[in-house]
Amino acid sequence: MPDDPGKSKSETGKGPEIEGKGPAIEDYRGQNPAWCPGCGNLQILRVFKMAMVEMGIEPHELLLVSGIGQAGKFPHYTRCNTFNGLHGRTLPVAQAIRMANHDMRVIAVAGDGDCYGEGGNHFLAAMRRNLNVKLFVHDNQVYGLTKGQASPTTDEGMVTGTQPFGVLSAPMNPVALAVAMDCSLVVRGFSGNQEELKELMKTVLEHKGFALLDIFQNCVTYNEINTFQWYKEHCDPVGEDHDPTDREAAFRLALKAGDRIPTGVIYRHDRPLMEDLIPVIAGAEPLVRQPFSQEDVAGELARFY
């Protein structure tokens, strides 16, 4: 498998001609994915397109920000505005886009290494800021693109090319961390439970606030432990009786490990959005559309006279 992306080109140019008809799956067709057959990413991509179409979101209304990794290539395999930046640096870009244009739907797509490893500090800061950015983490518990090294979510003991004695660090639990950080919405999904994942994506997109959607995704090439079958057997949708606004209950669920790993909406806290706290943009036109004139600022020179 190549360490780098494929050569296929996407169709480009103008979007659909007919207004008001709503988007179709076709409108979201991008480059042909260079992922391995059987990779969980392919299912996530499929579900994503269905969710967008069902929600009536046009490609140009979306801005996908990604970093580097197999998950980072996601935006190229669909069609929408895209900033595909650096490994781990997805969230700063995504948040700033939102500050500059809060009319834009911004989704950050990352891998577990990308977001929890290289970008860990940004993940913490983003949960605190609570801008209206949606974060999809394709969590295959391994580094895919660089060929199978351990990620922060890899189980202890897993032997890899760079962890010959098995992983010696305790794995990180992103969902529990997010609850601890009072992340506005904390959701876990599994690429194989497509119907559930689609509904979760819609919930995430409709939420007002920073939302983590940690998606278990099987890597057929480098993770022989957490296979499709393994996830299928271990993922356990949260029941109707779970109240996601009950933080203690959410913690208990988030800490569940071993045999039963809960999927679904784990935690929700409708915290004030940062966009509504920045006076310059709160309830105003997005920054990008606010007029500028040199005359308005010229007066600032006066106090230096």
């Binding site: 140019g13 580097i68 640096r89 995504a94 948040q95 500090n121 920054l287 230096f304």
Partner: protein
């Protein structure tokens, strides 16, 4: 007439208040003013000073000799006593300093007692001192009274009146008690009458004003001295002028945020010092690949690592020039004065967006903190043009490609979401649509577009160096950035008779060509060419040699974390002259 007042003491004792008031006061009184600060890396205590030089002729540097020393503590007396000019006076308050000094040089001004007697408020001590200085100089108080009113009226009329009373008492005290004060100022600059319409501006505010005037809408940074001043300035303007100013979690986030905001369609800037810039380097390369405009302010301070946090050095020129992996164009502005800082910040924004590249403003602690008097600034001289394709224009296009090949290498920069056209970019090599590619042909064309086609056009935009002095001078001193002021005064001081001129570079990359001004011919005619730099390895001279093949005959370097003072530079130039004689 040319006097230097140095106020020394511990951080937190109010020396900045005194210095700032004096600087403004003298500027309004029609003098030419230059101030600089020397402080330690601590919030309270330590030894710091604020130096105000004012004259009836242009001044642009600090001298080491002091005419009036305001000693707010004993250390100041011990540290600076030997630097007093003939006839210089040290004022101090024996009650607060807890020491009584004997001798003609000392004037004990009981500032605390006067403040209590006149205003019943110890906080007015600093105002008493300012009044005393004006009294010693024989200057009137009208300008000061206006300034006190401007500063304190929002706190109430009573505070204004108390301050005025304290200043008067200080002035009266000095006039009565400083028998040996022999300072004279020209009659037309008495401190009375209408204020002169002049500015007093520091390097930090100049960069901030330049950014504001350039339409900067987004500033993200992580605090690091000496760049924090610009960050604070921008934050202070946020509400009034619709800026989003965000303190990022680190410098990596800061530059990536600036890129995100810029991609979304607003002008964006970040700022840092060397250590923080080290973290930004990956993001700088991202700006290069995605052709996202960004302005980066680098306030240099001595390094390596965290170096001397509050001191000055020109040690990062080659770093800023070479930082980042890969090859892409960039612009580097190195202003030498607050005035240049204002206009060059404007130019950095314009070029960044016009060519979709990163543009740097490199300054240093010295320029950031020095204040200069100047006649004024003209905001309309800052080019403001929105180069982006917005809604209506974008909608009209049949086809849009973010990275389309063009004759100039500059592709249309569109606002994402403003129309049905998609805006796509990538840190991987990409095609015209912004999608990932690997083929050799596209890679070659993209490098040609991004780098080779743009570079000559960008070079054309760069202004030649500034010549100060006679173009047939036998000796030419050469420098860049913040050494401008001291070099200029050295030329003034040595004078035409000495056959010395200055060549100053403030737009250092792309390196200026010679078609507009053949500075290489000028240097070639000179007998001696001296490159003056606030670093140890003559980085500018290295750049000059690499770009033009020209080699300076001599170098003067200073790298103790302090700026060049005028007398010191003059002495070094003289020593050099002798050694060659």
């Amino acid at each position: 007439m040319d006097y230097t007042i140095r106020i020394g003491g511990q951080a937190g004792q109010g020396l900045q208040t005194i210095g700032a008031v004096l600087g403004k006061l003298f500027t309004r009184s029609g003098f030419q003013v230059f101030t600089h600060q020397d402080y330690m890396s601590r919030i309270r205590g330590g030894h710091n000073y604020y130096q105000v030089r004012f004259a009836d002729h242009p001044v642009s540097s600090s001298r080491s000799q002091v005419d009036i020393l305001v000693a707010l503590d004993k250390v100041t007396v011990a540290e600076h006593q030997d630097e007093m000019a003939p006839g210089g006076i040290i004022i101090y308050d024996s009650e607060t300093v807890k020491e009584k000094y004997e001798g003609e040089m000392f004037l004990d001004v009981p500032a605390r007692k006067i403040a209590m007697d006149t205003a019943g408020n110890r906080l007015m001590e600093n105002t008493v001192d300012v009044g005393a200085i004006l009294g010693m100089l024989g200057l009137g108080l009208e300008q000061l009274e206006k300034l006190l009113e401007e500063t304190f009226l929002r706190k109430g009329r009573e505070i204004v009146d108390q301050n005025v009373a304290a200043a008067r008492a200080g002035s009266d005290y000095a006039r009565e008690n400083c028998g040996q004060c022999a300072f004279t100022v020209p009659a037309d600059a008495s401190g009375d009458g209408p204020p002169a319409r002049r500015m007093l501006l520091d390097g930090t505010s100049a960069v901030g004003l330049g950014a504001l005037t350039s339409g900067c809408r987004f500033y993200s940074a992580y605090p690091m001295t000496p760049s924090t001043g610009v960050f604070t300035f921008m934050a202070s303007q946020a509400k009034k002028h619709s800026l989003v100013v965000e303190q990022a979690e680190d410098e990596i986030a800061a530059i990536n945020m600036a890129l995100g905001a810029s991609f979304a369609g607003v002008r964006a800037m970040t700022g840092t010092a060397g250590g923080g810039f080290a973290l930004m380097v990956e993001g700088l390369s991202l700006a290069g690949m995605t052709e996202t405009p960004v302005v980066i302010y680098v306030g240099q301070r001595p390094a390596p690592a965290t170096g001397l946090p509050t001191r000055t050095e020109q040690g990062d020129l080659l770093y800023v020039l070479h930082a980042a992996h890969g090859e892409f164009p960039r612009v580097i502005m190195a202003p030498g004065t607050p005035e240049q800082a204002f206009y060059l910040t404007g130019k950095a924004f314009d070029l960044a967006e016009k060519y979709q590249i990163p543009a740097f403003i490199i300054s240093d602690q010295y320029l950031a903190d020095t204040e200069w008097s100047l006649d004024g600034l003209d905001p309309s001289r800052i080019e403001y043009h929105d180069y982006r394709l917005r809604a209506a224009d974008l909608e009209k296009l049949d086809d849009y490609k973010r990275h389309a090949y063009t004759d100039t290498g500059v592709s249309p920069l569109a606002e994402p979401g403003a129309s049905r056209h998609l805006v796509v970019t990538d840190s991987d090599e990409h095609d015209e649509d912004g999608h990932i590619i690997e083929d050799a042909e596209t890679r070659t064309r993209m490098v040609e577009k991004r780098l080779l086609k743009k570079m000559p056009l960008i070079r054309e935009e760069i202004s030649p160096p500034l010549l100060y002095g006679d173009d047939s001078a036998r000796t030419i001193i050469c420098g860049w950035g913040s050494t401008y002021g001291v070099m200029k005064e050295a030329v003034d001081d040595i004078g035409g008779a000495g056959g010395i001129a200055m060549l100053h570079f403030s737009e250092v990359y792309p390196f200026p060509g010679t078609s507009k001004f053949d500075y290489l011919a000028l240097l070639g005619r000179a007998k001696r060419t001296i490159c003056i730099e606030n670093n140890a390895t003559s980085q500018f001279a290295q750049l000059m040699r690499a770009e033009t093949g020209f080699q300076f005959s001599d170098h003067i370097n200073k790298f103790d974390g302090r700026p060049f003072l005028l007398d010191e530079l003059l002495a070094k130039l003289k020593a050099l002259e002798k050694s060659h004689a």
